[in-house]
Symmetry: C2
Amino acid sequence: MDPFLAAAIEEAKLGLAEGGIPIGSVVVIDGKIVGRGHNRRVQQGSAVLHAEMDALENAGRLTGADYQRATLYSTLSPCDMCSGASLLYKIPRIIVGENRTFQGPEAYVRSRGVDLQIVDDPECVRLMEEFIAARPELWNEDIGV
Amino acid sequence: MDPFLAAAIEEAKLGLAEGGIPIGSVVVIDGKIVGRGHNRRVQQGSAVLHAEMDALENAGRLTGADYQRATLYSTLSPCDMCSGASLLYKIPRIIVGENRTFQGPEAYVRSRGVDLQIVDDPECVRLMEEFIAARPELWNEDIGV
């Protein structure tokens, strides 16, 4: 497996172990992880720290030139907010663990020139399927339903 | 002036007084401000806390039904990230102080059914024009340039 997707899955599992929503993300620049994160809705009472936002926040303040060499990994298809954050910073490549349990605005993101790839990883699917079955109200809150 | 836009401008000025980027935002539900915020890039070293994100974060965890009655005010046209956050939560109305100094994806946001209105307020324009002239590198960082 891609070691960066594996790191995002580790983050998702860490979030689950904390009682949170099991979605993880890493930001990679020049072959190195510069930021890692997971969904913090439960842990921090956060409405904005989806996994990708948490990873971007943990990467710290970067320049446009940094972001333009970055790849964003997420275990789940990025939602409108997280896709928008990638577009803001002109991150050229997004690697998505799975998009069976949720689909963000993938066609729009691609129309803006982003190389968005779906891995369809069974472990990412399993993490979300089990979580959505166990905590549907929390999942709905996370996606504004 | 709309008191909610005035509150967003107060937030922008608070940010400026802290040494930050002068953009402010409030979230309004049922005629009351439920969250207010301003850009925290400088103050918190944050890559994700644009004014709108800060206001949404400070509003706390809300339900989809709450967001679907909300109006998001911002002194400046929301960028891809902040527009995406509004789309995630299906916020139906966005009131924008000005879009002369920066334009987010307004047409796309409207195409998703959002009532996005531009006030073209001179004080909002002045705050940004003066800031961009004084700190162009900081402004470029904030929009990923």
